[in-house]
Amino acid sequence: MAELDHEHGLHLLRQMVRIRRLEDKSAELYGAQKIRGFLHLYNGEEAVAVGVIETLRPEDCVVATYREHGQALARGVSMKAIMAEMFGKQEGCSRGRGGSMHLFDASTRFYGGNAIVAGGLPLAVGLALADKMQGRSVVTCCFFGDGAVQEGEFHESMSLASLWKLPVLFVCENNLFAMGVPLERSEPVPNLAKKADAYAVPAATVNGMDVLAVETQAHKAVAHVRSGKGPYFLECITYRFRAHSMFDAELYRKKEDVERWRQQDPIVHLAGVLKERGLVTDAQIKQLEREADAQIAEAVAYADAGTLEPLEDLTRFVYSEQGAS
């Protein structure tokens, strides 16, 4: 794992700021009706995607949910392609076929963007099964929310991955609400890491607002998984600062609660740690914010200038256009 020095600290901060700024811009563009459909923003949860993905290798696989802009960016999917995707343009990372909830990118082994709660878990188990059967030392990292833990597919996937000792890192982004239902009203055992015991899967719970803590714990988890010992369950306690989606009046939580969590803002937190240790300066932080904004402006311009797929291509990609290899 990289030492926390100037370069690494700045890198983590940059990754989180890029996500935050992208999300804020996306909300604005949603209001301007440039982005349509459902839009689920990641504000507040950035430390989870950044801290975990930092510990992966290029050959590893990532499976995410419909709130996946953060994972995609952290994984290295092009911001331009993400924005073009949300604009429904064929330059998008899914050619405009997926939208915000279905970002895909084969070049970074980013397997979506799954909008069925827990629907990505069996897929992750299968990706890992293929790696194990082919003798590759590859980790499949599967992100999902606390809501997914309520689904049968969570149980089935944890069980099978453990039984077959498959290299899956299960990352539960526990933001305390499944849409608007708080965990204590949907889970008899709200300590989610405890559930892993039932499947003989080692687990840890980490403060998901602290990217350094997430990175440290994820590093251990990934090492366990890569060593061939089987899956690992990493619960990251986090909080979403924005609404569930753009259709959410947030009737289920108090403004004071959101405010209290905002005091733990992962970006502010990391910036504070880095400054305290003398690793970065305010000027450097300002600089990376400007860079992020410039990248976003470039991405928006790219998406705006993007082209619509011709209507005669409507039924493409239902079946493969070339034979199997």
Partner: protein, 341 residues
Amino acid sequence: MSVQTLVQTQAAPATVELTYREAVREAMREAMRRDERVFLMGEDVASYGGCFAVSKGLVDEFGPERIRDTPMAESVFTGAGIGAAMNGMRPIVEIMTVNFSLLALDQILNNAATLLHMSGGQFNVPIVIRMATGAGKQLAAQHSHSLENWFAHIPGLKVLSPATVEDARGMLWPALQDPDPVLIFENPLLYNMKARLPAEGVQVDIARAKVRRVGNDVTILAYSASLFKALDAAEMLAKEGISADVIDLRVLRHLDDETYLKSIAKTHRVVIVDEGWKTGSLAAEICARIVEQAFYELDAPVERVCTAEVPLPYAKHLEEAALPSPERVVAAVKKAVSNHG
């Protein structure tokens, strides 16, 4: 081996008698020998040998890594097949019956059928999912339904339904060669059926229906076990001077319109036999296609012989009454041929 037998062997290609069950097993064995990426997983496929004994013995040859018993968890083992297919393997997933496949429907529809499209063509899913379908063994309402039509509704999937031993033997390999998900529906009533096939090189075109009997007066369309009811009916009708074209649809998605429309252009009358429920059935879809594409060829309304709209009952006489039978096919054909438009 004597010189004489050697000459005989060369003269006639070697054949082998197989049951439908053995044909599926041999197809899997051949695929696993030819391609090390192919493996089988599902409930009880290894030590039990498959709930219908289809995979019996395969674990002895290929070991538990490639013949994988799974937990009772249709969703994850189907989803795992999908993930493995996307990551370099060629899985065959066996689901005991179509009724159980509903527990994996999320994975089949929301992942297998959509990932290629949602990813803009980046991730294809070369998986084969085999399952049993159909009634006739007094297994009641949770083991007997014919839901292949539900899957044939879904763009992104291909759906096959082998009725003959030859098709059971020959459809798997091309299905595994297909870059996209292929579902193969096997009717357990057929597993003991025998036929003599070439020992090697059985090839089946998984894009085309097949004419199984040639006639002039009426076209009977059927697939899977219903094919044999249609053929029995054709035999009964022949004795009364009515000759039937019997077409085995065998490819349920994509339907091979050309083959049956060609027959209808000759006979001008059509009866569709489908073990699904009539409402929203595959027979309904085919009927609509005939009306759209061959309305003016018809000399009589399209007849459909389907299963009674009831969850399939246990008692033998009730189950039999619910299902298509040769007699019901004969009656439908007589109605069609007696109608002179």
